[in-house]
Symmetry: C2
Subunit: 352 residues, 2 copies
């Protein structure tokens, strides 16, 4: 998508087979790029969230394997690296999906070919991710267009949570792809952007993306969505997901469930937009079965931003030594989900 007037991807392969990623740590205040060349760097980029978003961490992990086989293409090294990378984040299924795809292609390969095949396969993941997101965007666009036509061509108000935009994928995004396509097709859309505590991916990343692309948006607190829906100010919700169970339970950023409850209570359609690789057909009951990552207390107690002197600084919001619990995700039961938009169209839910 467009960044500083140029079309860029969140992850780009360099001519020497390294991976150039947009470092998201200081966004929106500073735009910087990092080149990854080792499995350890790929793992750190994921665990420390230089990069994030379920589809994108799958791609970065796959490149971690590319770098591993470049160093040493043996089965032993491959398997060790696979184990190391698959544990970087527990909730998103795309991470394991991308690594499994690499494994299924590479292990049958002669050792001497592995690096070349790994690089081609990982590059292919990027290409497919972009095509997938564009397809999701086109199916989502139809929903937005239909709403627009059925409601006297009034601007369509869409609420999203966290960031499932081009910063969470190689390009276009999942939940935001339909919004970009609607905007580009001339349909007036307005996005309610949840700030998304504790890491503020909405306030920092989604706001940055949409603003760069010229999409009309308003930042709100995570607390505000219910009030907006009660007052008819939201026409639909579209979110991404880190894992979707067989029956359609949606695991996504913490707080998604609360928005789905409010949408259901106010008859606002609630969609998740995901690649099919997000489905985990081995699970039924997402609340009981999906592991929920717990993250550091400092994500809640400390915040970074710009001082009035234009410097990046960190502050501690709270008293020191407070007990904090920081769950990264929650699960929205399928009964609250209107539909799941995939690259093959709307996935029907058994319960809806």
């Amino acid at each position: 998508m467009i960044l500083d007037g140029k079309w860029r991807q969140s992850a780009e392969v360099t001519p020497d087979g390294s991976l150039l990623i947009l470092d998201q740590r200081d966004l929106p205040h500073r735009i910087s790029w990092v080149t990854l060349t080792t499995p350890e760097q790929a793992a750190t980029a994921i665990t420390e969230m230089w990069t994030r978003g379920a589809p994108l961490i799958g791609i970065v992990a796959a490149f971690g394997l590319v770098f591993a086989v470049r160093n040493n293409p043996s089965d032993d090294n491959f398997n060790t690296s696979y184990q190391y990378l698959v544990q970087t984040r527990p909730t998103a299924i795309n991470l394991a999906w991308a690594l499994n795809r690499m494994r299924d292609v590479l292990l049958p390969c002669p050792v001497s070919d592995r690096y070349a095949v790994a690089l081609e396969t990982a590059k292919q993941l990027i290409i497919e991710d972009i095509e997938t997101n564009k397809a999701i965007g086109r199916y989502g666009l139809e929903l937005i267009k239909k709403h627009f036509q059925q409601h006297n061509h009034k601007p369509v108000n869409i609420l999203t949570h966290c960031n499932a935009g081009w910063l969470a994928t190689a390009d276009w995004g999942t939940a935001l792809a339909p919004i970009y396509m609607a905007h580009d097709a001339g349909i007036p859309v307005h996005v309610w952007v949840d700030e998304t505590r504790p890491r503020n991916q909405g306030a920092l990343l989604t706001a940055f993306e949409l603003t760069n692309h010229g999409v009309h948006m308003t930042l709100i607190t995570d607390n505000a969505g219910g009030h907006l829906m009660q007052h008819g100010l939201v026409d639909m919700c579209i979110v991404g997901a880190d894992r979707v169970t067989k029956r359609g339970d949606v695991c996504n950023k913490i707080g998604t469930y609360l928005k789905a409850l409010a949408a259901f209570d106010n008859q606002v359609p609630f969609y998740a937009a995901v690649p099919l690789s997000t489905f985990d057909h081995s699970l039924e009951d997402g609340v009981k079965e999906i592991p929920i990552e717990e993250r550091a207390a400092s994500e809640i107690t400390h915040l970074s931003g710009m001082t009035s002197q234009g410097e990046l600084a960190e502050i501690r919001l709270t008293l020191e030594g407070l007990r904090v619990a920081n769950y990264g995700f929650d699960v929205t039961p399928a009964r609250l989900v209107t539909g799941i938009i995939t690259e093959r169209g709307m996935r029907a839910l058994p319960t809806s």
Copy 2:
């Protein structure tokens, strides 16, 4: 309640008839007190949230009238000051309730007696507020005790939103009074404290209060409550309120509605704890009829806290110039509320 080892009230009358309030702007990092002596100071203390909480702003506004009649006890000055003070915050009904009580006592009084009567009436408001909150606390304690006895004497997990503690009243609090009484009675309670964006009253004030009193607590993001309730980690929710309609719709800090939806979806009892003065019998449908205050964008985009050098500093979290909407309150329909704890016991709701 206990602050620095001493029993203090959030608002204390000085011997010369001024009002000493705990300045909540720099809490929990700095504890400082401000003496109010003019109606303008009382209004500023309310609008700029040096002090806050529905019951407490009623008291501070009443003292604004005391200061007004001390300067000039005429009807004209009284009425002008009343109008000026009643508009300081639109959502909480206690503000108008306290001012009306002052008006009903003072206007029939001879002008020469007005200052003395005003001071006595306002002092009486403080005494009554404390007695009211203690009564709310005793009724709420019964609910907690019953749960404790019926669940094998396991610790009782209570979720609260915003701050309805002693910092929001003259003393004890409304939602937190039952918790303090349970704690003091030796019942093991644990409080899930919502951070309460955008002003973080939970992270800053509720955490500060509970910690000072030795109550076991855990800070969470506003997004986390639904996940906790899905996993059986919340036994009941208790919140305060700024206005309750005749049928029991509860207007409280933005985000309360989302927690009530999650509580309802998971069969967790959801209580509001309020003085009877919080009821507005002139209203039925809270969503349609209660005015919701909109506040400055900077409450969302900017945050203050301690730097690593131990200085208070402000940072800007987001890009400059973002469009922001900052609704201060929302309305929880009575159908989601298990009961309303008042100083005269549980108020039955027609729909529950």
